[in-house]
Symmetry: C2
Subunit: 310 residues, 2 copies
Amino acid sequence: MIDARPTRLRGVLAPVVTPFHANLDVNAGEFVRHCAWLLENGAGLAIFGTNSEANSLSVAERIRLTETLLEAGLPASSMMPGTGTSSLVDTVSLTRHAVHAGAGGVLMLPPFFYKKISDDALFAYYAEVIERVADERLSLYLYNIPALSGVPISLDLIERLLTRYPDTIAGVKDSSGDWANTKAMIDVFARDGLDIFPASEALLSTALPLGAAGCISATANVNPRNIALLCERWRSEEATALQDSVTRIRKVFESVPMIPAMKQVIAHATDDGEWLTVRPPLEQLKQDNSARLIDELTMAGFKFENLRYR
Amino acid sequence: MIDARPTRLRGVLAPVVTPFHANLDVNAGEFVRHCAWLLENGAGLAIFGTNSEANSLSVAERIRLTETLLEAGLPASSMMPGTGTSSLVDTVSLTRHAVHAGAGGVLMLPPFFYKKISDDALFAYYAEVIERVADERLSLYLYNIPALSGVPISLDLIERLLTRYPDTIAGVKDSSGDWANTKAMIDVFARDGLDIFPASEALLSTALPLGAAGCISATANVNPRNIALLCERWRSEEATALQDSVTRIRKVFESVPMIPAMKQVIAHATDDGEWLTVRPPLEQLKQDNSARLIDELTMAGFKFENLRYR
């Protein structure tokens, strides 16, 4: 098929962790440095995702941080900001801002306060957002993460939205944790040009041959280079070794709370203790978990020295 | 015990439904009229609750609506705005605004995006909010509604917060739907001066003698007068008849989605079809449900004519 979209976000994207000062204010300078490092290492910027503690930020903070990245010269086309909130109005504001900034796409949670929401109602919600943004540059990626949102995005809903808004619905990030679900999304929609992103690089060798677009994975925050290489070279002889390597590192993170764990690793690698800071209600890792994490990553071949910003 | 708080919000409070125009904008004028009518009929104003579609409003909309009520001369001391969002920063902004406006209290959801949050982490969150607001006028009511928030508020957490902030923690609204839980909250904390509000007037004759402070109930939006009378006269001979009457009406609402049902009843009573409007992801009642609701309320003795604003 002919792809009308000039640039597509494919390969690996990092749901960028958001650095805070000890007083919980956003550390914008460090955010820019981390984003620049991710880009240099081949990862796109899924800023304001779950792993970014986006829902612990205000709307104003998100807009300010986006502006800061743009002022620092980072390319909007490599960004896929999370713009879904529980409120239609805030979701529209954030989405409009992202589109006007030239973002490559937006990753949109369903409204996540009310539960047992029907597909009709979710369709009406997404349709209302799209109609209000009213901008043909909008590339919308649906974000399925039922364990946190409490509002699953069904195959039927995707089908209906794609039929109605074929030039806007660009893909799905599936954080269902259910490979059968991710696979069904790829099987049904990849041929229609939808970019399906699993939430873990451990699935890349299985998902890419089926037609997945890449992955949007928390651990891309600390291990972008090899995940990006795997996305590029999954047909090559290196693929098995690359997959083994990134999976080994991913598995280490799966035994501890992911967000504080990534911050722990960055704090350790950059020798900057402020990176440990998370906003409540998240908590830093317990001390024994931290020590174990660093040990296990070392044993898994993780190179902390790669994580030093210029 | 001596009560340091000059005014306490007790009796019945309505989680005030928010009227929208057909284009989904807030109808501020109608909001003022509905709030004034509720006050005249003996209900306090728990604006920006679950039934207010508060999480479908932006922070700016909530602040503007509060200002509108104050400009219309409605007493801030009768207001208990919902100020809990998923974001620490927004929660602090809304709480600060409510306190500076002179609100009688605030009803605070826990941060509701991340799940499996420990009591330590929730304690840290509420403590951070309280320390940032840093205002001795703050009366904080904790809002337990695990079916929607996904983050339960335990007796242990209440105890810890009360011990640390005895002049700030003022009460709890328990929408657990579990009477044993509500009763435990009353049994344990009412003697310490905490005001425990069940979420339904059907429980008043049971809860008030045990020491409950009243109720914060959706249906107070349409049936405030008799619920208020029951709160005042629960020791009197009228109590049984009042309880039977309000319970009969409450039960009718429990068979349909509550928020669109209340809006349906107000639209019917005021002959103003715009009142039917809900923001996505909520949906209006289906037509057959609407017709049945009006019929059943009529049979239950509901007086639609009481619901006409001056």
